[in-house]
Amino acid sequence: MTPEEKLAALEEMLELEAGDLAPTTKLSRLEEWDSLAALAFIVLMDDRFSKTITGEQIRSFATVQDIMDEMEM
């Protein structure tokens, strides 16, 4: 998955418009990144990457880039 595709997948997951997210976007400033979004991300990772993401990993994310780094097989 290219960085662009990852951003698009995250934007879709968070019900945002294309271009709303950048790798540098701080999650603390992103209202849509809430506990339900975290669950949606766990599903996305399980579904598309067959990877289990823990709550601890999710709590360690600070920026969108941190999330994108996990989005690998």
Binding site: L36, A38, L39, I42, D46, T52, I53, G55, R59
Partner: protein
């Protein structure tokens, strides 16, 4: 030759406290949440909550009285009472002992409480089956009753939208007419014990803080935000369920010598609509075989599986001979699954049973027989 003893689920009833808490009421002071958002995310519109002074024993008593009345069960015939609750009336004595007296069950009956949550019904069926097969008891009253609302912090919307109170009563007997309880798969992972927890009130932290506003960043320090109240690490529990539920489903099928296609209906613990949708998809269970019915009750913890099973029966979804898989998972962390086979029937309602009343969907406990207990087996 004596035939092998079978443990059967002969009747189920449930009781919901009268007080109803709607999404609208919950969202009154919240900018973030709305009725619509809650419904779309977790599939819950309202839940019943116990009023002050209304305890697990009271809900369990109502459910048991209903079971006795609707199914012509004599309390004197019960020789074991088992109550699953994580909101007992007192630290001690055992709430099941109090219920022995209140329900007019003989003093010769055994009684115990066991502390499990969302997996409790599976464990209760396993224990009841064990008692019946060992000959230690022949008619077990399995009660599951929770008032989790009393564990919730008034400001913690993430849990208040999910949980509802309720109780269920199940009669498990030796060689009854109802659904035969089959194989079990059980599991435990105590390393995740802090992921669903009420920290204070036990002997490790006996003093409650009586403080819902500890210092520190609300989001980053949430684990310790409301130590007297229920804490759930949603992400951890979600990952846990995605991991263990498919495994336990697979294993209970193997132990039963069945394939997933052999199962006629799946009744999972009604955790929340979102989690159930994801699990259904992951397990590739067709919609019509996956029963979800929690819009008006929420997650009732240990009462959820029997209540949902009863509702599936009332809705006509369980037919004689059907194989129904029950799966529970949650606090502990603990999980389990079993497969029950609905009683055979010649089509005519058997003595003492009435046909389930159709068309009731207002959420009030409806009268009528469980199809779990439909008809005579051929014996």
């Amino acid at each position: 030759m004596q035939s092998e003893i079978r443990a059967t689920i002969d009747a189920i009833e449930y009781y919901l406290p009268q007080k109803v808490l709607t999404n609208a009421e919950l969202c009154k002071n919240s900018e973030k949440w709305s009725d619509e958002k809650i419904v779309s995310k977790v599939g819950i519109r309202s839940r019943h909550v116990a009023k002050e002074g209304e305890c697990a024993s009271d809900l369990a008593e109502q459910a048991a009285q209903k079971l006795f009345a609707q199914h012509a069960i004599d309390p004197a015939s019960i020789d074991f009472i088992m109550l699953a609750t994580q909101s007992p009336d007192y630290p001690l004595p055992t709430t099941a002992c109090i219920l022995q007296d209140r329900l007019g069950i003989p003093t010769t009956a055994g009684a115990l409480d066991f502390n499990l949550g969302c997996s409790a019904y599976i464990y209760g069926l396993m224990l009841a089956k064990g008692l019946v097969l060992s000959g230690a008891a022949s008619r077990v009253l399995l009660l599951t009753a929770e008032t989790y609302s009393k564990h919730l912090h008034a400001e913690d919307m993430s849990v208040r939208i999910i949980f509802g109170d309720g109780a269920a009563a199940t009669l498990v007997s030796a060689n009854g007419k109802g659904a035969v309880i089959g194989a079990f798969d059980l599991g435990t992972d105590g390393s995740g014990f802090e992921n669903i927890i009420v920290q204070t009130g036990g002997m490790r932290y006996p003093e409650g803080t009586n403080d819902g506003s500890t210092s520190g960043d609300k989001d980053e320090n949430k684990r310790f935000l409301y130590p007297d109240c229920l804490y759930i690490d949603g992400a951890e529990i979600f990952s846990f369920a995605l991991r263990v539920v498919p495994e336990t489903v697979k294993r209970v099928l193997e132990k039963s010598g069945l394939s997933q296609d052999d199962i006629d209906l799946f009744v999972f613990h009604q955790a929340n609509g979102f989690m159930l949708r994801v699990l259904k998809k992951k397990l590739k269970i067709p919609n019509e075989k996956f029963f979800v019915d929690m819009e008006d009750v929420g997650n009732t913890v240990s009462a959820s599986i029997p209540m949902t099973l009863k509702r599936a029966c009332d809705a006509g979804l369980v037919h004689p001979g059907d194989k129904v898989m029950l799966v529970g998972f949650g606090v502990g962390l603990s999980w389990g699954a079993t497969i029950i086979t609905a009683g055979e029937s010649d089509g005519s309602p058997s003595a003492g049973e009435t046909v389930a009343a159709a068309g009731e969907s207002d959420g009030s406990p409806s009268a009528g027989a469980t199809v779990v207990a439909a008809g005579e087996s051929d014996g």
